[in-house]
């Protein structure tokens, strides 16, 4: 055994290495021999047996490598197409619209829109998640892609992540990623929803979003209708008509909204045209397989608007006969019959009212639970018309079932008060207020009733009137009543102020003028009383002339 150390090892290695310079042929031979030696000593069977696994692995990594070569834009395009394939943006919008319909559409009383259900894919949790992640993936590649941003916002909106959706839509609506009116439409809907749940949202804010949203060709037509309503409220009737017409062009059923608008404005010619267009559309729908109860209701409504009450009743009765209509049709028919009944009311020369009570009975029979029926019966009592036994039964039944409206109790209270039954009258007015805490007529009558019947209740009466005035501060009737109560409380100066306020709101209140004149006289202010007398006389003359012109003395 030869003992070596590191010096000898190194010497041997250097010696071998130096052969590169002085024996290159030998070195080359060493290389080739080593390779041959390596080659001949291999087990090639073993090599080829094991080689496929390496080949497969290399192939997989080559396939992976190909994916790295794709262009970013192409990738985004394919991802966007993939997202659309899974759940189209239109379907997402429709899903949201359907979901929020209950939130703002019902509150706004819009004509329901017919959705094409067959083309919409079912939206499962998995689809939502997939589409959400797909949008996120696109945004991870290109954070300023507005389409992915919009889709993400829609999904967040669908899944109830409102804050996230709001932030995304606000950013899109701001235009920082380019013009995106769809986001403005979403924001407008959101504002409308918020207003429906009680948030204070200014019309201007919504109109601003709606105007931007109108640049979107496929904007929800209901939004256009709401836009139209807001413009109408703002006094821009021409703008309102233009927008409502656009909505009616995109969805013919919205001609009903247009007809409503013309009806409110009082444009009879255009009202007829819009009503006819709406009726034509809905007539085509009825008796078809896709017929819905709302179709006949819409026809009934436009007929009502154009004062064709019998025709409106006819279509609804037909609907009920064919068993196509349900509770809504029944209620609507009852309402139409009530309208026909109201038209049948007239007063004789002696000031006695007459009406065809059989129509009211028919309305009650059509929908025995319609609160408007009991209100109409109570109205009969107020007009000192004696209801039939059947109608009395209906009124009793409504009271027992507690389906009477606030108006019913108000009218009953008025009638009972006129009959001298102060106690029952107050009871009914209180019921009217409990059913509608904003029923200022009931508050007014109750306050007056208390003040006149019991001087100890004057403070209570004043408090009630203050409450009513808080709801409607510019109400001339309430101001007049407040003057009455203050006069009863011997607070004449304050009463004069209230009467004057009432007259400043409504300058044709003769009764208020008379009360004011009386107070001026009691206060010794004769000049004011005389001026008031002149004013009363002038107004009486004016009214007399007007009634002559209008009626020509032909009251039946």
């Amino acid at each position: 055994m030869h003992e070596t150390n590191w010096k000898e090892n190194a010497k041997w290695l250097v010696g071998e290495f130096l052969k590169v310079f002085y024996n290159p042929i030998g070195v080359f031979g060493g290389f080739t021999d080593a390779f041959r030696g390596w080659k001949f000593s291999r087990s090639w069977v073993r090599f080829w047996f094991h080689f496929p696994s390496v080949l497969i692995l290399v192939a997989i990594f080559v396939a992976f490598g190909f994916s790295l070569l794709g262009r970013e834009d192409t990738r985004i395009q394919s991802l966007l197409a993939e997202g659309e394939k899974h759940y189209s943006t239109g379907d997402l919008e429709t899903s949201i619209d359907r979901n929020v319909e209950a939130d703002f559409c019902k509150a706004a009383g819009l004509v329901p829109i017919e959705w094409n259900e067959s083309s919409r894919k079912p939206l499962t949790k998995l689809t939502i998640r997939f589409v959400e992640l797909l949008s996120k993936r696109i945004l991870s590649i290109r954070p300023d892609n507005p389409f992915a941003y919009y889709r993400l916002g829609l999904i967040h909106s669908l899944t109830g992540k409102r804050e996230e959706a709001l932030s995304e839509m606000t950013q899109l609506a701001s235009g920082s990623l380019g013009e995106w009116p769809q986001a403005n439409a979403w924001l407008a809907k959101d504002l409308l929803r918020r207003r429906c749940v009680g948030d204070e949202i200014a019309d201007n804010e919504i109109i601003k979003q709606l105007e931007k949203a109108s640049k979107w060709r496929d904007v929800d037509p209901r939004l256009k209708t709401l836009h139209s309503r807001m413009l109408e409220d703002a006094g821009d009737n021409d703008g309102a008509i233009a927008v409502a017409k656009q909505a009616a062009v995109s969805r013919p059923e919205l001609n009903v909204e247009l007809a409503r608008l013309y009806s409110r404005i009082g444009n009879q010619d255009e009202l007829r045209a819009a009503a006819n267009a709406a009726e034509d559309y809905f007539i085509k729908r009825i008796n078809s397989p896709g017929e819905k109860e709302s179709d006949r209701l819409a026809i009934s409504e436009v007929r009502k608007l154009t004062n064709r009450l019998d025709a409106a009743a006819e279509i609804l009765a037909d609907s009920l006969d064919r068993k196509k209509g349900g509770a809504a049709s029944r209620r609507e028919l009852s309402e139409v019959q009530l309208m026909i009944f109201r038209k049948s009311i007239y007063s004789t020369a002696a000031g006695v009212y007459r009406a065809d009570l059989s129509i009211l009975e028919k309305a009650a029979e059509t929908d025995s639970l319609n609160p408007s029926v009991s209100a109409a019966i109570a109205g009969l009592l107020k007009m000192k018309l004696k209801p039939t036994d059947k109608l009395r039964e209906y009124l009793k039944s409504h009271r027992d079932k507690d389906i009477t409206s606030s108006t019913t109790h108000l009218l009953l209270g008025d009638a009972l008060y006129a009959m001298g039954n102060q106690k029952e009258a107050s009871k009914n007015w209180e019921q009217a207020i409990s059913k509608d805490p904003k029923n200022i007529s009931a508050m007014n009558n109750l306050a007056l009733g208390w003040a006149k019947s019991d001087p100890t209740k004057i403070d209570k009466s004043l408090a009630m009137l203050d409450k009513a005035l808080a709801i409607s501060p510019e109400n001339s009737e309430l101001l007049d009543s407040l003057g009455d109560v203050l006069a009863l409380a011997k607070r004449e100066k304050e009463a004069i102020v209230k009467y004057e306020q009432s007259l400043s709101v409504e300058q044709t209140r003769i009764e208020t003028m008379r009360k004011l004149k009386k107070l001026f006289q009691s206060q010794g202010r004769e000049d004011k009383a005389k001026a008031m007398t002149k004013r009363i006389e002038a107004l009486e003359r004016q009214k007399e002339e007007q009634s002559k012109e209008l009626l020509g003395g032909s009251i039946p």
């Binding site: 990594f61 190909f66 998995l126 996120k136």
Partner: protein, 332 residues
Amino acid sequence: MNELNANDIADSTATEVVRKKPSAWVEILFLSLFAAAVAAGWRFWADWLSVRDQSFFTFCMIVGLCVAMVRSSREGEVTAMRLWIGSGFYAISAIALALSFGSGSAIASVFALGFAILGWGLIRFAGESPQHAIGLGLVCLLPLAISNLVSTEWLDWLESTAVAFTSRLADTFGMSHVREESRILFEKGIADRFSCQGSWDSVIAFLGIALACILGFRRNFIPAIATLLGTVAIWIALRGCVWVTLVYLGSQNETWVAWSPGLELVALGLGALFIVNWDGFWGSIFEPIPFEYINADFPLVAFLWNWFCSLPKLAVRVPHRETDFGPTEEDF
């Protein structure tokens, strides 16, 4: 003149084999150290073995060590009996054990166990170079190394890389999918459940198979490294392929989707086949050049190759040509 040749170097570094039967004390001492180390680190081992893939890894490691020992014993009837190195490691093990009992450190107990096995292997492993024997013993420290890796972000990074790979692969094959952190959601809702740890198809389980191959086939350092690194690549590629294939099948036929629960074991089986094949491939590539094929005029290339392939063994034999030029003119 005493000529220096490569064989002198090889012979000089060869361990001097003391051929005698090991004393029973070697076994007694080893068993004592082993039992004490396991007792001291029972909490570590209980935690370690409570995870499915980690227990599978340990099983593969033990199988690999047993096969390595059986195969090494075939090369010589008598053990190498590297008593002095083995005793040294026994001493280190005893110190680590004392530290473990003193400080309550589980890590020290695992070290103690590793060094006890290392010492025992050095004494008992027949036909192995000391370097190989040390390498085999160090394998016992792998659970500790892996448990440390688990607590770092390395596995998260690996998981993320694997998911990115699967995602790219799915892109290449036009599979609808989206990525959500370390999960992939495919069109039919099949989410990638592969993970780096805790399941049958985890990278730890795959590494266990690779370790069994390395130990069982007694690979040297370089093929072992190739196998281990290749195993990670196999794991990444296989998980991607399995999911992409599964989703493709799922998109053709809904019933295939139901197949996914058994996927872990199928993936493990496929992975095992790939790893064994891969290990065999590199094993066949990194074989040393036989002595008879080495050019005695310039043995350096073959020497370096054989040295490279035989790592961690530091000495290889090369032929040496005795050059005799005969009498020269000067001699006359």
